[in-house]
């Protein structure tokens, strides 16, 4: 009896002392940690895919950039549907704006994912690493350039990812420093990028050159800009879609023309995966497309959507009747309904932000078998930089370089774009030519998210956008929460 007790006690005692604190020292099961990553070529490839993922979230830059401009009304269901967009349409934005915060957050998420690769670039060596690092630099520059367009001076950290706490110490760098940083990334990218992207959807050397040309243009560095853009033109990789056998210009924004001969850099979307409203940036589809669709639409060719981003009558009237781009860019819903028997609903009827009868035809939903919620998973790729844009930027750079000797080249590039639209060439030069370029730039790139920033960088925003005040509205307010997180380290943009 006694011995039984003794042994039982002994067993329990053994249990008691056999447990020590290392019982809780467990590694996460089957998980990869940052400490065990970037140890193979595939790790670098996988991280790069993660950085490309965020280009899809730039849908918001496109649609909101368009709404901010004089091209479109915010639209939507009512005058308070997506309040942040409505305010921007009225140029009444304040630092409390959830949608501007999205622009900030989504693009910085892209910066951070690209920086994750760049800061680990020396971990291992393998063939093809330079290409991957170059693409990461291209993407970081792409996101940073978006941020600088929207917010002006931003915090930068060339060596890698921002770490918790650095919001208190890293300042908003002066504009020149941010631009230098973007230029450096792009120059390094251009040096290592292959002329042909390794896969459709990734950046080529020309994409980086075109972006750098645009970055220079935004700084009025016309000669440098023209040089980069000329390199893209000289590469011979691109031509205007619709100018060669078997191409129809009016198909340019259809699925069939995606990643075509005019595509310099294209953000890729797919409808093959479902998505939800709780994480719009997670969608693999182009959220802006569903948001731009006709409300309650029933009829051929198109699918319904939320009725945002509505071209105004003034925009439509800006096209001459023989301009093919009117047909390419604008859907007149009344006329279409008359022709086809389609039916639709009208949402917001506010005179300033509401219904116009027109839709942004380039990026409204086409019938397709995308997955639910179908309104936010449309597969329409965004033609971020297309050759027509390159030609028009080159024309502008040559014209504005100021020597006068390059107007011939400028006129030639402009007329290439006009010819495709079925228009007569212009013979102007100097300031008249520049006005022609500006005008065609608006009509050519209508609905593609460039107009607001073109007006701002050329100092014409106040003239065209109702309610716009320069210099206040040249940039958007830094989101209030960011000012608070930085505890005063980042100052608000003047006037907000």
């Amino acid at each position: 009896m006694k011995t039984h007790k003794f042994y039982l006690s002994l067993i329990l005692l053994t249990l008691f002392i056999s447990c020590s604190d290392d019982f809780v020292e467990e590694d996460p099961p089957f998980a990869v940690t940052s400490g065990t990553f970037f140890e193979s070529e595939s790790d670098f490839n996988n991280a790069l895919i993660g950085a490309y993922d965020l280009t899809q979230a730039t849908y918001i830059n496109v649609i909101l950039g368009e709404i901010a401009s004089d091209n479109t009304h915010a639209g939507g269901e009512s005058a308070t549907d997506v309040v942040g967009w409505q305010q921007i349409d009225r140029m009444a934005q304040t630092p409390i704006n959830a949608d501007l915060d999205d622009v900030w957050d989504f693009n910085f998420a892209g910066v951070q994912r690209a920086a994750f690769i760049i800061e680990n670039q020396d971990n291992i060596d393998f063939d093809g690493k330079a290409q991957i690092i170059a693409e990461a630099r291209f993407l970081r520059a792409y996101f940073n350039f978006e941020l600088v367009k929207w917010f002006g001076a931003i915090p930068i950290k060339p060596e890698g990812q921002f770490q918790l706490g650095e919001e208190l110490s890293i300042p908003r760098s002066p504009l020149e420093d941010v631009y230098t940083f973007i230029e450096d990334d792009l120059q390094l990218a251009i040096a290592d990028l292959a002329p042909q992207a390794p896969q459709v959807g990734r950046a080529s050397k020309a994409a980086a050159q075109a972006l750098l040309g645009k970055v220079f243009l935004y700084q009025d560095k016309f000669t440098e800009s023209a040089q980069q853009l000329q390199a893209v033109i000289d590469s011979g990789q691109f031509h205007l879609f619709g100018t060669q056998e078997g191409e129809d210009f009016l198909d340019l924004f259809e699925f069939s023309a995606e990643n075509g001969p005019e595509s310099v850099f294209e953000v890729q979307y797919s409808g093959a995966q479902g998505a939800g409203f709780d994480c719009l940036q997670c969608s693999e589809g182009n959220v802006a497309v569903g948001f731009s669709g006709v409300r309650g639409y029933i009829g051929p060719v198109y699918e319904s959507g939320f009725g945002f981003n509505l071209p105004t009558q003034e925009t439509v009237d800006a096209y001459t009747n023989n301009d093919l781009r009117k047909e390419l860019s604008i859907l007149d819903i009344e006329a279409w309904a008359n022709d086809t028997g389609a039916t639709f609903n009208i949402g917001n009827q506010d005179p300033i932000t509401g219904h116009t009868g027109f839709y942004n035809k380039k990026y409204i939903p086409r019938q397709n078998d995308n997955l639910p919620d179908a309104n936010i998973t449309h597969p329409n790729n965004y033609r971020a930089i297309r050759y027509a844009d390159v030609l028009l930027m080159a024309a502008e750079a040559y014209n504005r370089a100021g020597t006068g000797t390059n107007d011939d080249l400028a006129r030639q590039y402009l007329n290439q774009v006009r010819a495709r639209a079925g228009l007569q060439p212009v013979n102007s030069s100097g300031a008249n030519l520049l006005n022609n370029i500006y005008n065609d730039r608006r009509l050519e790139l209508m609905g593609e998210g460039h107009r607001f920033f073109d007006l701002v960088r050329t100092g014409r925003a106040e003239q065209f956008i109702d309610g716009f005040q320069a210099p206040k509205n040249n940039v958007f307010p830094i989101p209030l929460e960011e000012i608070q997180f930085s505890q005063g380290n980042w100052e608000q943009n003047p006037g907000y």
């Binding site: 790790d43 979230a57 308070t80 459709v200 995966q273 639910p372 960011e482």
Partner: protein
């Protein structure tokens, strides 16, 4: 340290010598009648026996100076020291008070007299009277300071239990301990009829559970048999009918068309409504959606015991259908329970409990934008019930569809199988010294199958599917708790009682899950909805998995000391190590002290007839919380990285960082103070308990705390880190009164009342000014906040000041166009310029209410007259607000009939804005949408009839009770929604009503038979 004490104690066991004898005797009552079944034990051991039918006993192996304890239900326990007597005859006194009731306190027990912490208990009588479908309901209104809110009225829905307020915006749910082991199955998987009692530890006494106890502890004891008890068989069954407790007052077709026409006319637009003479339908969608549904329950249990063993077993089945969607929203629960308690040797007791539960449920979209009830409220009455595709009717936005069609297209099946239990060995290795080893476990297997058929609800509806899809989800969880503890219970020099517990607990939880999804199920039918039968190919055929792992190691000690049975002191110290924290913060210590003074035992205290007992209690302690995700201190590559690459535009997966890591994450600490008074009056007929409490929760583990966007937390699959970022305080007073009186043999009654106040305040938020949450309407700013100086989760919106009556009033007021809409017109809501900057915008938002009740109350009444018994339970919440968010912001949806009282011209209304289909800012979140959530609910009324003796004899039963019961009988409230308890229960974002599935009113007829 603890190991050495243990070794020392162990060495004592083998050195003490014994001399043992046998003693016999008889136990009688006041009237000298023998009492059978009296428990006789040697104190500090499990060694013991019981009296036979003649009240006689024989007790072996008694040592000199052993204390022999005689105890029997409703008699005073007596202790006699063994001094070598051969015979001990005992007369037991009838117990005059319930103060000697045993109270479980975690890793041991105490008596109601001597317990020094703040507890609430729910007795088996209350549980029987309430007879709940879910055990949690038995706590509502019966326990001061405990608030229970159902997640939904849907069958099988879980409830949120909050003890003394919401103190964290992480997980606020209390720890559930069933028969000593941690139970993680959710209370809806327990059979309520298996429950003997529920004890809630509300204060620092819960510190024995250390890091698991910060939200309070609910200790559930299940029914067990007694020694030498003839098998007692109980069969209980009931059938019930459930119906909705409320329907909202909405517009009928005529009213709808008239108001719609007016709203379009006000906007200068043509109305899309049919003309009055063309109205074809007047569908009452609520009538269409709500049904009367059945509930049926069977329960059978057997308890009993022999000399050395007692046992209990039970089986039950519950079948409940929903009042919305009937069989599409149903719950079936089957449970089996077995417990055995046996003395293998006089020094070794073994105990085993096993619970098995099979839950099977089907659910509908029940709480949120686009839920069935949301649609029933918003869809136009002019639409026919048979209209599956709403094209060609009227534009109702993208979410509102025919709720009947939605129900018909809902297919899912959720099944869970749980096996839980504990095995325990108690070893009395030396007098007064006891070792307990216990292994408790939960295993569960969850299978979820969902099918979304290909269907078109109408153009642009969010529920449309071009392709059908089946989703399968299987999850396995396993956890064990191993406890090893040592109890010493010793009296020194007559007056000094010491109880010492020293032990350790090992906890491990492991989970794995597999998910798969496939399209193109044959025949678009749920009957073939499986991954194998589906034929889809391409990117939408997806799969996934997860693995989780959590471990905790704890050492604890507790000393309970009482001097003269009247000065009570106990101290608890617990050390926890958790795998959820990084190397620097893995370990934390949690101390607590509780004290008590039984004033009524003092000589100066004159306990007369009317004042019988008084005890003053005080406790203070620190408890912890590690209720967060696993491995948050590490950066994991578990983010989402998907890009479309290649010629064929293929979805390509990469790797990316997941949630932002916080390497410095550490324990959340709860500092609990409680001062209480327990009083008894009128021969203990009236018990009064009064408590003041203050809980300060520091270093709140706030998940997903917003940080600057530069850290990339907006990236897919990433999220903000969990940070120790705040402090929340809950303070209040609880009073509980219970009066029991036996007027005569035929008539007895009891009345209970409790009231608790909660003063909740966030005292600190680090790193950010506020946290936001919740959702109001569509595309609006988050309506709920956590912010310093305010209650957690308060509503943050615009304040209103009536309706603009004239253009002059509009002109005199700061502009409202800065809200993003047009300038106001007469008939629109006037918002207050809170910051007085001359414009109305988002910066004018302020505190417009909060979802936490200031006061909660419970009132219970029961009486018994001859063969009848009656009981009524009710509870009330006062001082909480609720947000009406079931009205879709869309010009053509149906509305509440209060809108008939709209503004139509100067002086017509100062509360209901005009109707208009044009742009306006009336729908922006303001106190127009915030209503008083005060309510009083008559929860249960029950009447029972006990069959008389004669009938029982002929049947051979020992008791038969027939009863009728109504649940959720009536709710007194001004709230205009279905149910004022509507809430997701989220700390930030709760109290917002999206069209809550109301808790049904239930009429039940039941039968209870004992053999």
């Amino acid at each position: 340290m603890s190991k050495w004490i243990f070794l020392l104690l162990l060495s004592l066991t083998t050195t003490i010598a014994f001399s043992q004898q046998t003693v016999t005797g008889t136990v009688v009552d006041d009237a000298n009648l023998p009492i059978p079944g009296v428990n006789i034990s040697i104190k500090g051991t499990t060694q013991g026996t019981v009296t036979n039918f003649d009240g006689e006993f024989t007790l072996d192996n008694v040592s000199l100076n052993d204390i022999i304890v005689f105890s029997y239900v409703s008699f005073e326990t007596q202790e006699i020291e063994f001094t070598g007597q051969q015979t001990i005859n005992v007369k037991l006194e009838v117990s005059s008070e319930a103060l000697d009731e045993v109270v479980v306190i975690g890793y041991g027990s105490s008596s109601k007299r001597k317990v020094t912490g703040a507890i609430a208990t729910v007795s088996s009588e209350s549980i029987e009277a309430i007879d709940p479908l879910n055990v949690a309901q038995a706590l509502q209104g019966t326990s001061a300071g405990v608030n229970v809110t159902p997640n939904s009225g849907a069958p099988g829905a879980e409830s949120n239990i909050r003890i003394r307020g919401v103190s964290t915006n992480g997980n606020s749910a209390p720890l559930i301990i069933v028969d000593g082991f941690q139970y993680d199955g959710g209370l809806n998987s327990l059979n309520p009829q298996d429950i003997e009692s529920i004890t809630v530890l509300k204060d620092a006494q819960a510190a024995i559970y250390g890091s698991a106890g910060a939200n309070g502890v609910v200790l559930i004891e299940t029914k067990s048999g007694e020694r030498n008890q003839k098998a007692k068989v109980t069969y209980n069954t009931y059938v019930g009918l459930q119906e909705t407790s409320r329907e909202l007052s909405l517009l009928n077709s005529n009213e709808y068309v008239l108001l719609l026409n007016e709203s379009y006319a006000n906007a200068g637009l043509t109305s899309p409504a049919p003309s009055l003479s063309d109205i074809e339908n007047d569908t009452d969608w609520q009538d269409e959606v709500f049904e009367t549904a059945e509930v049926i329950s069977h329960n059978i249990s057997v308890v009993g015991g022999s000399e050395n063993t007692d046992y209990s077993m039970s089986a039950s089945h519950l079948d409940q259908e929903g009042i919305v969607g009937s069989d599409k929203s149903s719950f079936k629960r089957t449970t089996v329970k077995l417990s055995i308690n046996t003395d293998v040797k006089d020094f070794l007791n073994l105990k085993a409990n096993v619970f098995h539960t099979n839950n099977r449920s089907k659910g509908i979209n029940s709480f949120g934008l686009g839920s069935v009830l949301f649609n029933a409220i918003n869809i136009a009455p002019t639409i026919s019930r048979d209209r599956d595709n709403l094209d060609g009717t009227i534009d109702l936005g993208n979410e509102v569809v025919n709720p009947l069609t939605q129900l018909r297209n809902t297919f899912n099946d959720f099944e869970s199988n749980r096996l839980s239990g504990s095995f325990q060995a108690e070893l009395d290795y030396v007098k007064d010294f006891k070792l307990t080893a216990r292994y408790g476990f939960n295993t569960s297997k969850l299978n979820n199958r969902e099918f979304f058929p290909e269907f078109n609800f109408g153009s642009s509806k969010v529920f449309n599917r071009d392709q059908n899809q089946v989703n399968l989800n299987q999850q396995d969880f396993y956890d064990y708790t191993f406890d090893l503890f040592h109890t010493i219970d010793k009296t020194f020099f007559d007056d000094h009682d010491v109880k010492f517990v020293l032990g350790m607990t090992v906890f491990r939880s492991h989970g794995e899950g597999l998910f798969g999804s496939r399209t193109d199920v044959p025949n678009n039918s749920f009957n073939f909805a499986d991954l194998g039968t589906a034929t889809g190919t391409g990117d939408n055929q997806t799969n996934g998995s997860f693995v989780s792992e959590f471990r905790r190691l704890s050492y604890f000690g507790r000393v309970e000391y009482s001097f003269k049975d009247r000065y009570l002191l106990s101290g608890i110290l617990r050390r926890d190590t958790s795998s959820r924290f990084g190397p620097n913060n893995q370990t934390a210590w949690f101390p607590s002290v509780t004290t008590g003074w039984i004033i009524s035992d003092e000589e100066f205290f004159d306990t007369g007839e009317w004042f019988n007992f008084a005890k003053l209690r005080a406790s203070y302690g620190e408890l912890g919380n590690d209720n967060i995700g696993d491995f948050l201190f590490l950066s994991l590559l578990n983010g989402e990285a998907e890009a479309i690459l290649g010629e064929n535009q293929e979805l390509t997966n990469g790797q990316a960082l997941g949630p932002l890591a916080n390497p410095n994450i550490k324990w959340e600490t709860s500092k609990k103070l409680d001062i209480g008074l327990d009083l008894s009056f009128f021969n203990s007929d009236l018990d009064v308990t009064i408590d003041y409490y203050s809980n300060e929760r520091e270093d709140l583990l706030i998940p997903n705390i917003p940080v600057s966007g530069i850290f990339g937390t907006a990236a897919p699959g990433s999220s903000s880190p969990t940070i120790n970022a705040g402090t929340v305080e809950n303070k209040g007073i609880e009073v509980a009164l219970n009066y029991n009186k036996e007027i005569s043999k035929d008539f007895s009654f009891s009345v209970g009342y409790n009231i608790s106040t909660i003063d909740n305040e966030v005292t600190q938020v680090n790193g950010t000014e506020f946290l936001e949450g919740g959702q109001f309407s569509v595309g609006q700013l988050p309506p709920s906040r956590m912010q310093e100086g305010e209650p957690i989760g308060f509503f943050y919106g615009l304040k209103t000041d009536g309706i603009f009556q004239t253009q002059a009033e509009v002109d005199a007021h700061p502009t409202q166009s800065t809200l993003g809409g047009p300038e106001a017109q007469p008939g629109d809501i006037r918002f207050v310029d809170v910051n007085a900057d001359g414009i109305i915008d988002e910066a004018d938002r302020t505190n417009i209410g909060d979802p936490i009740p200031d006061v909660t109350m419970g009132f219970n009444l029961s009486f018994r007259y001859k063969n009848f018994d009656f009981s009524a339970y009710s509870f009330a919440n006062i001082g909480n607000e609720i947000v009406r968010n079931f009205e879709r912001d869309q010009p053509n949806v149906n509305v509440l009939s209060r809108r008939l009282d709209r503004w139509t011209g100067p002086g017509t209304s100062n509360s209901e804005p005009r109707v208009t289909a044009g742009p306006n800012t009336n729908r922006i979140f303001s106190d127009y949408f915030v209503e008083d959530g005060d309510f009083l609910r008559i929860q249960t009324i029950s009447i029972g009839y006990f069959f008389p003796e004669q009938i029982l004899k002929t049947i051979g039963a020992s008791s038969i009770k027939l009863y009728a019961k109504a649940d959720n009988v009536f709710t007194f409230t001004d709230y205009s929604g279905f149910d004022p308890t509507a809430s997701t229960g989220e700390p930030i974002g709760g109290g917002i009503d999206f069209g809550f599935y109301p808790v049904p009113r239930t009429y039940i007829l039941g039968l209870n038979v004992n053999f």
